[in-house]
Symmetry: C2
Subunit: 400 residues, 2 copies
């Protein structure tokens, strides 16, 4: 059984957490550079690092051999610190109405195993039972792996909608049809390890912040386009979580005409026009072809069908306006647009960029829009990243 | 001449800046509590504080006598630290198309003097000449005061629009009719002290963050309603400044119908319906009374005139939607709505709150909307607060 037992990190102070965070997200990094970036003394950095090295979470032994001649390198790293990836294991699962997508990762959110499973029922009790079995199978894959897996830091669950992460409750997930589902409690009765429940887009943003595009950006937004439209924000050194647990609800800005009702019950939401379901409905309606699926609608639009193109144009227009609204408010350095259906970008990208340029205010429009493909495994990795963050920060686990 | 010469703060490290910030914004505060809140060691706090006390910026001598019997108080402050307000003087000026509003303040942004002056020309050269004279008069008021004024830390200038604070340039201020005006450079040729140029709403938010409602809030928004509609955001421990200098442009979210052109040249901006000018134009148009002024429109609406009420209703509706959009994106704990015309709140408050409730997503709607009156002197004090922040942080002055 090569899965070691859970153990907390030896971090006594906020400074220790800061130091480990720097090593994890910016390593390999020398002690002196950590001191410079955190404003801590070198003595304080060394003091925080020592127990982490002793416990095997961090190492200053470079994987690659370092040249002996140190006269060459001005600014050459001196015993740079890195985390030991295999010192910690993590599980992340993205829950959708039709599937569970799970991954196991190491301490740096590097994916070890992937496990997909279909769901045919969104009833919370049914889903949680399936989720518990799914998690147990992932734990099994850690135990049966050839390499020794680090102790399991916890399980991250990502769900779309309004999630109360502090209590592990999905308060309102229109896509799942869930209201007030205490996921951490229900899952914790079945699997006794620490559980972190997050909004899925926020989880993705944590992953980008610690292990992705955000490592080198002072601020950024991740916008996800697909069956829902979400947005994660990283501003002023932290992912924006919202004082009441809600933030980044780009899909529910009231920017669309008020005649359509959203899945959330409100009128005028961006998603009423720009979600993939909305695009499909519109194309079915205007072409009179009730049998179309999304792939069919995309194909029609690519063939130049005017009605199908109009549905994508409408979506692009509203997404562009929504991006401008977000950028006008928070002014990020960079926006990563992570779409599930990258194949359809060409159908709305021009219109989206034009609407963005029309409504972006002044220099806010200098913000770069990066389009990027994106898989369901990325969502699950995001869920794992939330556990890593929670573990490093020593946040009290919800259930174990 | 009781204005002492300029001198930098004795702050050698980022930790020192953090310690002074805590004393300034949360004092009186004991050293042990600063250590707890910053994660620094008590030794580090004591080391940072000593030169500040020596130089007279900070004191641990309580103004009020402390009881000798220390057995009573669990958690009683032990030699709490406060800044010495008179150790620093600051000037803040808000520039509007029709007036200069200047204040002098102490180190805690407490107002010492106020000076208002009318403008009859918005030509940049003319305004900067008048501004230089205005600032010199404010410096004179510091010199001639009965009490000794602390050394002048600098001059803060607040202007609406897109301001490049890093270079002291007003890039685009539709209200002033300014584009690319290098305010810091032009003013710096005339008055040789450090200058900080800021977007006016951002300056107000700095003041709220350090000396107002923000001291006890983890996140908040300040929304200003009047001739323009602006928004300052405080999230994750800092005022949001925008990677390209633009943020909080609530008045330029594309939430209004696209048939009206905004002062900024774009279509569909919130301000096309909700600024005081927009309300007045609409009332003039629908009542056919081209001679109305804003006071007259407010009076008509209060008397129940349907056309006038409709103009305020439209404004309230769009402002409420804009607040919901902002809250859905960033989820602040609290929104302070600071209006120039608090007398007209009753005309749109109901409609605004209703639109907000309709479009706020899930728990984001728990955010409290606080309506508060607000004077031009508050803007000027905000400009002074930006100087205090810049001075404490040891940011290089633009001109001196």
């Amino acid at each position: 059984m090569p899965l070691r037992a859970h153990r907390p990190l030896p971090l006594a102070t906020p400074a220790g957490v800061e130091v480990l965070t720097k090593i994890l997200t910016q390593g390999p990094i020398p002690r002196v550079e950590i001191a410079r970036r955190t404003g801590l003394s070198q003595a304080a950095v060394t003091k925080a690092v020592a127990p982490l090295i002793d416990a095997g979470f961090v190492t200053d032994q470079a994987a690659a051999p370092v040249e002996a001649d140190s006269q060459l390198g001005i600014g050459r790293p001196v015993s740079p610190l890195t985390v030991v990836p295999s010192s910690v294991s993590v599980i992340g699962v993205k829950v959708t109405p039709t599937s569970l997508i799970g991954v196991t990762t190491d301490f740096t959110a590097g994916i070890l195993n992937i496990r997909h499973e279909e769901l045919d029922d969104t009833d919370p009790e049914v889903v949680i039972d399936r989720l518990a079995a799914h998690v147990k199978a992932l734990i099994g894959s850690l135990k049966s792996g050839t390499a020794v897996a680090g102790p399991l830091a916890g399980i991250g669950i990502a769900v779309s909608g309004d999630v109360d992460a502090a209590h592990g409750v999905v308060r309102d997930s229109p896509l799942m049809g869930w209201r007030g589902v205490p996921v951490a409690e229900l899952l914790g009765e079945r699997v006794r390890v620490p559980i972190v429940v997050s909004n899925d887009v926020r989880a993705l943003t944590v992953a980008e912040h610690w292990f992705g595009v955000g490592v080198n950006a002072d601020s950024f937004a991740v916008v996800t386009i697909g069956s829902g439209i979400g947005c994660g924000l990283y501003i002023n050194g932290e992912v924006v979580s919202g004082a009441y647990g809600v933030s980044g609800e780009l899909g529910h800005l009231p920017l669309a005409p008020g005649d359509l009702v959203c899945t959330c019950g409100r009128r005028g939401c961006v998603e009423t026009v720009a979600s993939s379901d909305a695009i499909l409905s519109r194309t079915r309606e205007t072409t009179g072809r009730a049998d179309l699926d999304l792939a069919g609608a995309i194909k029609l639009a690519h063939e130049g069908n005017e009605q199908a193109r109009e549905a994508f144009d409408r979506a692009g227009e509203v997404i562009g306006s929504a991006l401008a609204a977000m950028v006008n408010l928070v002014g990020p350095e960079l926006v990563v647009i992570a779409g599930e259906g990258v194949a359809e970008y060409d159908l709305y990208e021009d219109r989206m960029r034009r609407a963005f340029a029309e409504h972006a205010f002044g220099a806010a429009g200098d913000c770069r829009l990066m389009l990027r493909s994106h898989t369901f495994d990325d969502w699950a990795r995001g869920a794992a990243a939330t556990v890593i963050r929670s573990y490093v920060r020593g946040e009290p686990p919800l259930h174990r």
